[in-house]
């Protein structure tokens, strides 16, 4: 059953994401504050199970990569990943139907919740790693042939929010 993120569950999610950051991946704290603000402004975040995703869904994983050191100082404006999502949709020629965290540990864990709130898209409870990972290609959807995998979505693409001044390796 789809469920809605509320402040209590958000707090629990941020704690879990901090643990699953396994010592890296940045602090989920800043994303938590952003999502909490959105919830207080009336935005809603819906979470769905992988089984609830239809076969023709376009599931997009959202996140940033680079130095967390930058992110604790130059806090996000908030809509950077949304801009990246829109650019990807233009490129693919079709709108995304779902979002999914690339990693459920560290700062990236809560990014899809913020985009989900802003874009009105559900977030799939089925991240690509079960923790934070150091490199982009370590994501499940890239390291497995997806027909063999239980996950049912057809296309999974990571939008990397690269905006002026962010540090990218």
């Amino acid at each position: 059953m789809p469920w809605e993120l509320d402040e209590t569950k958000l707090e629990a999610l941020a704690i879990g994401a901090g643990i699953l950051g396994t010592g890296g991946g940045g602090n989920p704290y800043y994303g938590k504050l952003h999502v909490r603000r959105l919830l207080r402004e009336g935005y809603r975040v819906q979470i769905v199970a992988p089984d609830e995703v239809p076969d023709d869904a376009l599931v997009v994983s959202v996140g940033g990569m680079g130095a967390p050191t930058i992110g604790i100082e130059r806090i996000h404006r908030g809509d950077e990943p949304l801009v990246a999502l829109r650019a990807l949709e233009r490129y693919l020629g079709r709108p995304a139907t779902h979002l999914v965290p690339g990693e459920i540990g560290g700062a990236n864990a809560l990014r899809p919740m913020a985009v989900g709130a802003l874009a009105g898209l559900p977030v799939v409870d089925g991240d690509g790693m079960g923790r934070a990972f150091p490199e982009l290609q370590m994501d499940t959807s890239r390291s497995l042939v997806y027909q063999r995998h239980r996950l049912r979505w057809r296309i999974s693409t990571t939008t990397s929010c690269c905006f002026p001044g962010s540090a990218m390796p």
Binding site: G66, T69, I75, A167
Partner: protein, 499 residues
């Protein structure tokens, strides 16, 4: 506490009074009476206070403030004071805004300062009747220009405004640094008033010696400086105890247990100074990141209440009512102190009043105490090797002479007033925390520049130039940054100059 260099001449303990200054005057007067020294002979007065911490925790006497963040259009996802407890934010928030300004990590501007918007902000500050302002700019620890320019602008237009620049207090981490600056802004009017009151009270006693306040890292700041940066006193309590413990025991690398009536605070001495917390520290519910000692507290002290079977001790405590409540003082409550007396660890009150306690109960409670203390010591250690443990504070009789994980248990004289000693022996420091690029300079040159600047800051803060030495160098390469950037923290410490 009256010290002649390393010798304790006299000491007195007085409870804090609501107005702070009359309690201080009482203690100073009784110390001066003990030794019959003319007030004019006193060279310097050092004061450690938790008055400003308490003001935040109790939400009392805090000023309404404005927070000007320079970072637009970045940082909008989390506005200033976003994660503050609601009651505190409502008490202090006068005007919060995010304006163009701030820098990228490599020194480029995020956006130029917008003087029209700043003029409007000044008007708004005046309309709100706000007297104290915090300014925080993105990457100000690396590039100070925008915070400084806006501070000048505010000062030119509203000379009476009290201004706190975030880079003067906090480190990298915009929200935490901004929080620290905002807390400081809330406290500046109270600090000015309190310090002026203490000064005039001391003057009435004939003491015209310079007044210093101890700060979080165990060093001193002048009273003028403290009136501008009251948040820097926030953790001076445990820090002073640890510095006092170092001085009294002669140990510079050790674990310190400060055992009080309700809690035991534990910290680590490294080269004679408290080890600093490496992550955010919460004060009154506000997340900050300025330099604070790494202190772990557990609910175990001399007044901790012992369960009838001896397996649970604390966190409930009889606290300051120990002398009425504990069994050995004729009271009805079984406390940790009673266990220590029954086991022969201490001689206190009337030992016969605990003679009836079952031996098994006493042994079990002792084992509980020892286990919690040794776990506490263990949680602070970074290696498995046993370390010396210095015990101070009124409840120190709880600590056994043999403690697991401790190479020795040291109980220095005057342990009950280690805190005041820590304030009295304090030195002065200068600290540099900056991000440097190693593209166009060598690492050695960057380190040397930071060392020189740290020494200069220490001398400016009142250190005797001959005594200044570098006590800490920390070098952290920043991953993923293109310019081979390194974060350098260098701290210099010296003895107070005697003028």
């Amino acid at each position: 506490m009256l010290l002649d260099r390393a010798d304790v001449l006299a000491w007195a303990k007085h409870p804090t009074t609501a107005d702070v200054s009359s309690g201080i005057v009482g203690a100073v007067r009784s110390v001066l009476d003990q030794v019959r020294i003319a007030p004019g002979e006193i060279g310097a007065v050092m004061l450690g206070t938790t008055h400003f911490t308490n003001a935040v925790i109790q939400r009392r006497n805090l000023a309404r403030i404005a927070v000007l963040r320079l970072g637009w259009p970045a940082t909008l996802s989390i506005p200033p004071l976003e994660d503050w407890p609601d009651d505190l934010r409502e008490t202090v928030a006068g005007y919060l805004t995010i304006l163009p300004g701030g820098h990228q990590f490599d020194g480029r501007e995020i956006s130029p300062l917008d003087w029209t918007a700043l003029t409007a902000a000044v008007d708004r500050i005046a309309r709100e009747g706000v007297q104290s302002v915090a300014i925080s700019a993105v990457f100000s620890p690396a590039v100070a220009a925008h915070e400084d320019a806006v501070a000048r602008f505010l000062h030119e237009h509203r000379p009476h405004l009290r201004i706190t620049r975030s880079r003067e207090i906090g480190r990298l981490g915009l929200l935490e640094r901004e929080n620290a600056a905002a807390l400081n802004a809330c406290l500046v009017p109270l600090a000015e008033e309190t310090i002026a009151a203490i000064r005039s009270a001391l003057a009435e006693l004939g003491l015209d010696a310079p007044l210093y306040l101890s700060q979080n890292d165990g060093t001193l700041m002048t009273a003028e400086f403290a009136a501008r940066y009251p948040v820097l006193t926030f953790a001076s309590g445990p820090t002073n105890s640890m510095r006092g413990a170092a001085f009294l025991s002669g140990l510079h690398d050790a674990v310190v247990l400060d055992v009080g009536g309700t809690t035991t605070d534990a910290g680590v001495l490294v080269h004679g100074f408290p080890r600093e917390a490496s992550f955010a520290v919460s004060i009154g519910g506000v997340r900050t990141n300025f330099r604070m000692p790494d202190v772990v507290s557990i609910g175990l002290g001399g007044g901790s209440i012992v369960s009838p079977d001896g397996t649970r001790i604390g966190p409930q405590s009889v606290g300051f009512r120990l002398s009425e409540e504990a069994l050995v003082f004729g009271g009805p409550t079984l406390t940790a102190t009673d266990i220590a007396v029954a086991a022969g660890r201490a001689r206190l009150g009337a030992p016969e009043r605990v003679a009836h306690l079952p031996r098994e109960l006493v042994q079990r409670a002792l084992a509980t105490i020892d286990q919690r203390l040794s776990e506490l010591v263990d949680s602070l250690k970074t290696t498995a090797a046993p370390v010396p443990v210095v015990v101070v504070g009124g409840g120190s009789l709880l600590v056994p002479d043999q403690l697991e994980g401790a190479s020795e248990v040291v109980r220095p004289p005057y342990a009950a007033v280690a805190n005041a000693i820590g304030a009295a022996i304090a030195q002065v420091s200068g600290e540099i925390d900056r991000i440097v690029s190693l593209e166009h300079q060598t690492r050695e040159r960057a380190l040397e520049a930071a060392r020189v600047d740290a020494c200069r800051l220490a001398i400016e803060a009142g250190a005797d130039p001959d005594s200044v030495q570098i006590v800490e160098v920390e070098e952290v390469p920043l991953a993923y940054l293109p310019s081979n950037a390194v974060r350098l923290r260098v701290k210099a410490v010296g003895d107070l100059r005697e003028d």
